[in-house]
C-alpha cells in the first residue's frame, strides 16, 4: 500500500502550523525601525505605534535623576556617514528635527552620553515625546559592530 499521500498531509499540516505561527507573530510583534528624520516625516501615522528609533543624543539636553531612574534627553538625526547612500531612499527633511525622549524606571545605559548614537524603543506620544521602554547605546564608532548587544 502506498502511504505517501498520507505523509504529505501530515508534513503539510506541520508546515502550515509553522507558517501560521510565523504569520501570527509577525502581525502582533513587528515594529517600525526608523531614523529620526523618518519619524518626523511620518509623525501623523505613527501615534501610539511601537517604534524603534535610531538617533543621536543632542548634547546639552540630557537630564538623569537617579532617585526616580528617569532619563530625559533629545535625539537628533545621525549625520549620514554614507555619502553615496544609494541603497536607502532618503526621507528629505528640510530642517533639523529632534524629539524629546523620556525613559522612566530603567537605569541609565553604561555608554549613554551626549553625542552618542542610541536606539530608543517606545511609543510616540502627543507633542512629539517618545516614551521609551528601553534605550540602547550602540558601540562607539571605532569598533566595528560585532558580538555585542
Amino acid at each position: 500500500m502506498n502511504i505517501r499521500p498520507r505523509f504529505f498531509i501530515g508534513a503539510g499540516l506541520i508546515i502550515l502550523a509553522i507558517g501560521y505561527l510565523i504569520g501570527n507573530a509577525m502581525r502582533t510583534t513587528s515594529e517600525y525601525y526608523l531614523t529620526v528624520t523618518e519619524v518626523a516625516a511620518r509623525q501623523s501615522e505613527l501615534g501610539g505605534q511601537a517604534l524603534r528609533v535610531a538617533g543621536r543624543v543632542k548634547p546639552g539636553t540630557t537630564d538623569w535623576d537617579p532617585n526616580t531612574l528617569t532619563l530625559k534627553f533629545e535625539i537628533v538625526p545621525i549625520p549620514d556617514v554614507d555619502a553615496g547612500g544609494a541603497l536607502i531612499k532618503p526621507v528629505v527633511a528640510t530642517e533639523p528635527v529632534s524629539f524629546r525622549v523620556v525613559s522612566a524606571g530603567e537605569p541609565k545605559p553604561d555608554m549613554f552620553a551626549p553625542g552618542r548614537d542610541v536606539i530608543v524603543e517606545g511609543k510616540l506620544g502627543a507633542g512629539g515625546v517618545i516614551t521609551a521602554t528601553q534605550v540602547m547605546t550602540s558601540c562607539a564608532s571605532k569598533y566595528k559592530p560585532k558580538q555585542s548587544q
Binding site: 505523509f7 509577525m26 510583534t29 513587528s30 526608523l34 532617585n67 537605569p107 553604561d110 558580538q147
Partner: protein
C-alpha cells in the same frame, strides 16, 4: 614581519588554486601522482596560513602598532591572554581564523582519505580548497590583516571592553570550529553529487565530522549565552540578536541532519533531504560569518561600508546555485525505492523532528532578515524582536521535546499498539503525575505545566531505556548494576550517548522555561547603609571601593545579602569598570547561583559623591539548569564520539565488500584512522 604574513597568504592562495587543478585532473585522468601532489599542496597551504596567523600573533604580543589591526584591537596595557584572543576580535583576524581552521580541517581530511574514498575524496578536497580560495581572496585583496599605518601610534585603541572576558575569549573559536568543520561533510556531499557515487558512503566517511561540528556549535552557543549572561548585564542570556541567531541556525540544521542521516543509513531513504540539509548547514555557516562580520542586519548602510558584504553574498549565492543545480541534476538517481510505512514509526518521528527543526530555522532566518528585506522592498525598516521569536518557537519547542521522547523508543517501520503501551505506559504516567504535582503546587501557566510534563515524559523514556538495557545485561551476563550500566554505555556509545544528550536538552529546556516565566526584577537607588528586598532576599548596600590601574578604573559596591530570617548569606561585589584606553565604561555583574535560582546584581550607576548607587537586581529561577543541561549535552557528545571497537569492525565489514578491501581495512582499523 608583516611582509612575511602577506607573502604567506599569497602563497597559500596559489597553493589552494593548484590543489584544485591537480585534484580534479588527477581524479579525472586517473593520475594518482597528481592527487598526491594536490594533497601536499593542501598541507603546504595549511603551513602558509599557519605562518600568517603566527605573524599576527607575534605582532599582537609585541604590540607592533605599525599594523593597523594591532593598533585597532590591542594596547600595551591589555593583558597577555587578551592579546592572544585579539586575533579574532576584528574582521580581518576572525576571517583569518576561519581560513586557518579550514586549512587545518582540509589537511586532516586529506590525511584521513589518503587511501580511502579514491573516487570522491579528490573532489571533496577540491570543494574545500574552493572555499579556502574565497577566504584567501578576501584576506589578500579585500580585508587585509597586515595593512600598515602611515603614522605609527604610540598606543593602541585597545580591545573592546565587552570582549575582555573569559567567555568571549573561548566563544568565537568554538563557534568557528563548529562552523568550519561543517564544511567537511558538505564537501563530501558535494563530491558525492559530482561523482554520482550517491550511496551513504559520504555520510559514513564524515559522520564524526558532523558530530564534531555539532559539538562545537553547541559549545559556541552555550559560551555565547554565558557571555551575554555575565557581561551584558541585563539578566538574560539570549536576546534573539542577529549574531546569536547566526550561531543558532547552523546548530538547528546540523541537529536535524544528525537525526535524518540515521534514516538513510538504516532505510536508504531521504537522500535528497540529507544532501539538502548539509548544503543548508554549510550555507548558514557562511551566512552566519557574513552577518557577524558585515553588520548588514543593523543597517543596509553598513553592508556597503564594510566592503565584505557584496563578496560574501555573491559567494553564498554562487555556492547555493551550484549546489542546487547539482541536486537537480542528480535528482533522478537520488529517488529512493523505500517508503514510509506508518505514522507510528521511528522514521516518521525523525521526519517530523526534522520538519520542526527546519521550521524553527526558517522562523529564525525570517525574523533575522526581515528588517533588511522590508527596508529593501518597502523602504521602511520593520523589525521583530524577541516576542516574535518566543511566540513562534515556544510552541514548536514543545513539539520537539515530545518527539525527543518518542523517537528513540518507537520501532522502525511500524509499531504495534502492544508495543506502544509497553514502551510508553510508564513514561506517560511519569509525565502526567509530574503535571498534576506541578498544578497542585500552584503552577497555572498552561505552557509551564505542559513543558514540565513533557520533560518528565522524556526523562521517563530514557529511564525505561536504561533500565531495559541494564536488566538485559544483568540477566544474561550476571553483571552487577554499576558494571552493567558502564558496559551498556560503552558497548552502545552512539545510542546511550544520544540519550544523555537528550536528557541534557530537556534539562536545559526546563532551565529556559523557568528563567523565562518566573524572572523577577527590582531597580533601586539606595544610600550606603540602606537595604531593599527581592523575593525572600534582603540586600544591603554597604559602600563603594575604588581601584585604579593604568588599564582600567573600577568602582566596586559591597552588597550584603540576607535571607528572610535575617541571616547573612553572602556579600556580593558588583562593579562598574572604566577602560582607560577605550574610554568606555562596562559593568561587572555579581551572580550568586543556586540550583533553585540565581541572584544577579548589577551596579547600574553611582552618583558623584559615591554615597548613592543604583542597582538592578534579577532573581531568575532555574537558570542554573540551562548550564547543567549544556554540560550534559557536552558529556553525551563525548560519549557518542568515543572510539568504539564494534563500530570499527562494522566499517571494516562494509569496506571488505568493496574492491579495494584489504588495503582500506588496514587503514581503517589503525588507531586514529577515523
Amino acid at each position: 614581519m608583516p611582509e612575511l604574513g602577506n607573502l604567506a597568504l599569497a602563497i597559500a592562495l596559489i597553493l589552494a588554486v593548484y590543489s584544485i587543478v591537480a585534484n580534479i585532473y588527477g581524479a579525472r585522468r586517473n593520475a594518482p601522482d597528481f592527487v598526491v601532489s594536490a594533497r601536499h599542496a593542501i598541507w603546504s597551504m595549511c603551513a602558509m596560513v599557519t605562518i600568517a596567523v603566527v605573524v599576527l600573533w607575534v605582532a599582537l604580543l609585541r604590540s607592533d602598532f605599525s599594523l593597523e589591526y594591532v593598533a585597532t584591537y590591542s594596547s600595551t596595557t591589555l593583558p597577555t591572554a587578551y592579546k592572544i584572543t585579539a586575533l579574532w576580535a576584528g574582521q580581518q583576524g576572525s576571517l583569518m581564523l576561519w581560513t586557518w581552521l579550514l586549512a587545518i580541517f582540509t589537511s586532516v581530511a586529506a590525511f584521513q582519505n589518503r587511501r580511502r574514498n579514491p573516487d570522491t575524496a579528490p573532489y571533496a578536497l577540491a570543494v574545500l580548497a574552493g572555499v579556502a580560495i574565497f577566504f584567501l581572496l578576501m584576506l589578500n585583496f579585500v580585508t587585509r590583516p597586515f595593512d600598515l599605518l602611515a603614522t605609527i601610534p604610540a598606543e593602541g585603541s585597545d580591545l573592546n571592553p565587552l570582549l575582555q572576558n573569559y567567555w568571549m575569549a573561548i566563544h568565537p573559536p568554538s563557534l568557528y570550529i563548529g562552523y568550519v568543520s561543517a564544511s567537511v561533510p558538505f564537501a563530501f556531499g558535494a563530491a558525492a553529487l559530482i561523482t554520482g557515487k550517491l550511496d551513504d558512503g559520504w555520510i559514513r566517511s564524515t559522520r564524526r565530522w558532523a558530530i564534531f561540528s555539532w559539538f562545537f556549535l553547541t559549545l559556541g552557543n552555550l559560551f555565547g549565552a554565558r557571555w551575554a549572561y555575565e557581561v551584558l548585564g541585563w539578566g538574560g542570556y539570549w536576546a534573539w540578536d542577529p549574531v546569536e541567531n547566526a550561531a543558532f541556525m547552523p546548530w538547528l540544521v546540523m541537529t536535524a541532519y544528525l537525526h535524518s542521516v540515521m534514516i538513510q543509513e538504516r532505510k536508504d531513504m531521504l537522500k535528497i533531504w540529507n544532501l539538502s540539509l548539509i548544503g543548508l548547514a554549510f550555507e548558514l555557516t557562511l551566512f552566519g560569518t557574513f552577518i557577524t562580520r558585515s553588520g548588514v542586519i543593523s543597517s543596509v548602510h553598513s553592508f556597503t561600508q564594510s566592503g565584505l558584504g557584496p563578496y560574501f553574498l555573491s559567494f553564498l549565492a554562487a555556492v547555493t546555485l551550484a549546489y542546487t543545480a547539482l541536486l537537480i541534476y542528480r535528482s533522478k538517481q537520488l529517488r529512493s525505492p523505500a517508503e514510509f510505512e506508518s505514522y507510528l514509526s521511528r522514521e516518521a518521528a525523525f521526519l517530523f523532528n526534522n520538519l520542526i527543526l527546519v521550521g524553527i530555522t526558517f522562523a529564525v532566518f525570517w525574523g533575522t532578515v526581515f528588517p533588511v528585506l522590508s527596508e529593501a522592498v518597502r523602504g521602511v525598516k520593520i523589525t521583530v524582536g524577541p516576542p516574535f521569536f518566543n511566540r513562534v518557537i515556544a510552541p514548536l519547542a514543545l513539539g520537539l521535546v515530545f518527539l525527543t521522547g518518542i523517537g528513540p523508543l518507537i520501532a522502525w517501520r511500524r509499531t504495534t499498539t502492544d508495543n506502544l503501551v509497553r514502551s510508553f505506559a510508564a513514561p506517560v504516567a511519569i509525565g502526567v503525575v509530574t503535571g498534576i504535582i506541578a498544578a497542585a503546587a500552584g503552577l497555572r501557566q498552561w505552557y509551564v505545566l505542559t513543558a514540565l510534563s513533557l520533560a518528565a515524559f522524556v526523562m521517563g523514556t530514557v529511564l525505561v531505556e536504561f533500565r531495559r538495557g541494564m536488566n538485559a545485561r544483568r540477566h544474561m551476563l550476571a553483571e552487577p548494576p554499576a558494571k552493567a550500566l558502564v558496559n551498556l554505555v560503552a558497548k552502545n556509545n552512539r545510542r546511550y550517548g544520544g540519550y544523555v544528550i537528550h536528557v541534557g536538552v530537556v534539562v536545559a529546556f526546563i532551565g529556559i522555561v523557568g528563567s523565562s516565566f518566573f524572572r523577577t526584577e527590582v531597580k533601586k537607588s539606595v544610600h550606603a547603609g540602606d537595604s531593599f528586598t527581592i523575593g525572600s532576599y534582603t540586600l544591603r548596600f554597604l559602600g563603594l571601593s575604588e581601584v585604579d590601574t593604568p588599564h582600567l578604573a573600577s568602582a566596586t559596591a559591597r552588597v550584603e545579602v540576607l535571607s528572610a530570617d535575617g541571616r547573612e548569606i553572602t556579600v556580593m561585589s558588583p562593579a562598574k569598570l572604566f577602560f582607560i584606553r577605550a574610554q568606555q565604561p562596562a559593568t561587572e555583574v555579581a551572580i550568586r547561583s543556586t540550583p533553585l535560582s540565581d541572584l544577579y546584581v548589577v551596579l547600574a550607576g553611582i552618583d558623584d559623591s559615591g554615597q548613592t548607587a543604583t542597582f538592578e537586581v534579577f532573581l531568575t529561577p532555574l537558570v542554573f539548569w540551562l548550564w547543567a543541561g549544556g554540560l550534559l549535552m557536552v558529556l553525551g557528545t563525548v560519549i557518542v564520539m568515543w572510539p568504539n571497537v564494534r563500530e570499527r569492525a562494522a566499517i571494516a565489514t562494509v569496506l571488505s565488500r568493496s574492491s579495494t578491501a584489504a588495503r582500506e581495512l588496514n587503514d581503517v582499523a589503525a588507531p586514529g584512522g577515523d
